[in-house]
């Protein structure tokens, strides 16, 4: 759905990193390097951004 605001496991706030992560990986940068730059060092936080799929883009136009 929407980008996660916090890590499900440890609770670290990471919503502010999503757009930068998306922009840089779309340009072809290595996700590993981007995550390191953002300072996400635990694997629970890293998977939050790595495995996220912005499904809201597909459904936001349909009525509730």
């Amino acid at each position: 759905m929407h980008a996660p605001i916090r890590c499900f496991t440890c609770g670290k706030a990471l919503g502010q990193y999503w757009e930068e992560f998306k922009k840089r990986t779309d340009k072809g940068e290595d996700p590993e390097k981007v995550l390191d730059d953002l300072g996400l060092d635990r694997y629970c936080c890293r998977r939050m951004l790595l495995s996220h799929e912005e499904v809201i883009e597909d459904i936001k136009g349909y009525p509730r």
Binding site: H2, G11, K12, A13, G15, E57, Y62, R64
Partner: protein, 257 residues
């Protein structure tokens, strides 16, 4: 107890606690995680929500946004039971219409000191004609009640001790090189260990493979303590607050006995 600061940034603090006990380090850790008060959105009133997501979803996302907390000017909700809530809660409102992405920077607050840690957190995506209009209250809370009130993470590990017989160890450099995190170094014919880097993975003792020559152990009186906050307050403030809360608890016992 001897405390050494290893590294210090706004949101992360690494300390060495020496000559103490696990109970002390654990009390500090538990207080840090569960009891340091921080601000988070609690009650949300929706006036209009024509986005595709239900009210609960928006309210939940809003609550997860960490807010910068000023502990000096706010009190627990119970302190405002007389009806004046200005000391206990900050008012928050959002009024945005699509097409746009509502970010945490669109949150308007009654107190300029209470604001999201970052303006770049996406809260809701709106299409043309969709609108969100809401009011909310941010109050102080404890991490033990809900994760939205958790100031951050804290953890500790024991110091690692090396018991080495240098007459039996031949190639010290090779032993040091066997460490996958680079925590071992050779200095003046002896092995030296970086306590912060060491993860106690035992790779070096597997490499030597002789318990008489090389053995790792725990020093249960010294700890590497790492505290990390989400930005609601600095790590140092949060640690000092936890220390103060432990102190207050013990003092309240003293006065009651």
């Amino acid at each position: 107890m001897k405390v050494t600061v290893v590294s210090h940034s706004d949101n992360k603090l690494t300390l060495l606690l020496e000559k103490t006990k696990p109970a002390v380090a654990n009390a500090l850790r538990r207080t840090f995680i569960a009891e340091v008060p921080v601000m988070a959105v609690k009650d949300v009133t929706f006036y209009e929500n024509t986005s595709v997501m239900p009210d609960e979803y928006v309210a939940h996302r809003l609550a997860m946004v960490p807010l910068k907390t000023d502990l000096k000017s706010y009190k627990w909700t119970e302190a405002c039971a007389n009806g004046d809530y200005s000391m206990c809660s900050a008012d928050i409102s959002i009024d945005e219409a699509g097409p746009k992405t509502v970010y945490s920077s669109d949150i308007k607050t009654s107190d300029p000191k209470i604001k999201p840690i970052s303006g770049k957190i996406p809260i809701m995506k709106l299409m043309p004609g969709q609108r969100i209009r809401l009011e909310a209250k941010a109050v102080l809370g404890k991490g033990e009640d809900h994760a939205k009130w958790q100031v951050g993470l804290a953890g500790y590990k024991y110091f690692t001790t090396i018991k080495a017989d240098y007459r039996k160890l031949k190639d010290l450099k090779a032993v040091a090189a066997s460490c996958p995190v680079g925590a071992l170094k050779v200095r003046e014919g002896k092995l030296e260990l970086d306590q912060v880097k060491c993860t106690h993975c035992n790779e070096c003792s597997h490499f030597v493979n002789d318990p008489n020559a090389f053995k790792l152990g725990f020093d249960r009186t010294s700890f590497v303590f790492v505290a990390e906050t989400n930005g609601q307050m600095t790590a140092k403030e949060a640690i000092l607050q936890s220390v103060k809360m432990i102190e207050d608890k013990i003092q309240s016992m003293q006065s009651q006995l």
